[in-house]
């Protein structure tokens, strides 16, 4: 049901690189799990609202007060690479392949 091409497409969306073994296994396992999940397709859910927050709450507001954030140097201390007070990342121009376009991405809501 989930073929090799679909596995590779989804892996690209999820920024995962799978080995040949993993692609085959993932195809089988996702098909098995989705096969089970598809049973919810049998239910009549006409007019049933989707759950948003599982416990009914009305709007709750907090006081709009300014509080200190974590100091920059503390936050940067956890980063693999930093420069000039910011997170340092490799250049996207150094990527080998053209990347996934937004239209391949998750559906806007």
């Amino acid at each position: 049901m989930i073929d090799r091409e679909q596995v590779l497409h989804v892996a690209r969306l999820a920024r995962l690189e799978l080995t040949e073994d993993e692609v085959g296994r993932m195809s089988q396992e996702l098909s098995d799990v989705l096969g089970h999940i598809e049973k919810i397709g049998e239910l009549d859910l006409e007019g049933v609202p989707p759950t948003t927050h599982v416990v009914e709450v009305s709007n709750t507001l907090r006081a709009d007060t300014v509080e200190p954030s974590l100091p920059r140097e503390i936050v940067l201390a956890s980063a693999p690479a930093v420069a000039d007070g910011g997170f340092l990342v490799p250049s996207p121009q150094a990527d080998a392949e053209p990347q996934v376009t937004p239209s391949d991405g998750q559906r806007p809501r």
Binding site: V10, L16, L18, V33, I40, H53, V55, D95
Partner: protein, 480 residues
Amino acid sequence: MTAARNTSSDVTLLTAAGAVEAIGRGELSAAELFAAYRAAAADDALNAYLWVAEDAPAPGEGAALAGVPLAVKDLFCTEGVPSQAGSKILEGYRPPYTATVVAKLAAAGAPLLGKTNQDEFAMGSSNENSAFGPVLNPWDRTRVPGGSSGGSAAAVAAGSAPWALGTDTGGSIRQPAALCGIVGLKPTYGTVSRYGMIAFASSLDQAGPLTRDVTDAALLLAQMVGQDARDSTSIGFPGEISLPCSESLAGIRLGVPEELSGGGGVGIEPGVLDAFNVTLRLAESLGATVETCHLPHAPHALSAYYVLAPAEASSNLARYDGVRYGQRVEDGGLVGMYTKTRSQGFGREVKRRIMLGTYSLSSGYYDAYYGRAQRVRTKIADDFRAAFDAFDFVVTPTSPSVAFELGAKTADPLSMYFNDYCTVPMSLAGIPAISIPNGLSEGLPTGFQLCGPAFSENRVLEAAFALEQAIGFDASGGRA
């Protein structure tokens, strides 16, 4: 381990509430208690701990929890202490802040004893998905402790922690509690702050206690609940959590859902069902009425859950990209770095769930999967509301099986997922549910699950306490 082997085991035999009392009477000092548990945790042979504290601050004057130390699941951020969520991608990560619930408990006099092993990002039912190796069940070391809070459950059962903090997304507190012969409580969604809990599925994740008895669960939960400005989904608890004392179930109506007790759907082991039925008879002898009830959509809960939880996980775990924290694997460019980092940092089950979630949220599939699952979730919550019109509590076996052997289910994700069959419906409904030890099957613990409407924690604890007294479970097998 026999009582004689560990010379400091006398104080570790006390329940947490017992230790609080002993400290209050001046028979025991918090420092002495911490030292005993620190030694037991450092000596842990179950791989339950990933990190153990060197020392603990003295409890504040009159602190409710008197310095009784707390084992904390790895995924709770603790400032300056490794918090890795059982994942290689966060190996060595020491967060710059502490989770609200851990800070609240420390302030109440329960200092950090150690960080406990877990399934990676809380995804698992056996603790075999930890990047730091599996945890062994203290009742039988060839078996799993359950998961994902397996380290917390094993530590409490083995006596290397007086109590522990876990998280429950689809059963991750209740199922390991059942498999290790201890008490585990998942509170109403939103009663405990999730701030600083490394997220798995945000609409389901909830922190809760793993303890030796129901009284300890109430004692710990009382200090955990509360609205938190840093968790916009937190609600807090109306009123206070009180310590249970009821020994009667007079007038209590227990509903046994046919769909979750072997009547339909998944198979429940005969020994587990026998133990469950023995407790139902005990409940009747305490004055409860026991009748069959129906949760017609419960057989679909697992399907809905395995859409919703992976979908939320795929979004939550997008943050592990090698930029702000955690591991990074360079690959020339930016997206190459993201991809290499994630591919080498995540384990097999986490990748599987990210793939599943990404698939079900991807263009063209959203309505068929995520949208539908959110509607099933509404129906499941409605089923419980209807049941609670006629019954005070709904009761089920916690786990369909006793602890299984290491490796028994790792090759088949679907059979592993079925461990959550009886616990997932309550998670989807956001309601409180407790698992208490329920006698043995094949020499291994079974769990009895009791759940009530949202915010009924006090009533749930009272009923669980009454049952606990009647069951009289012998937990010593976990220390053997």
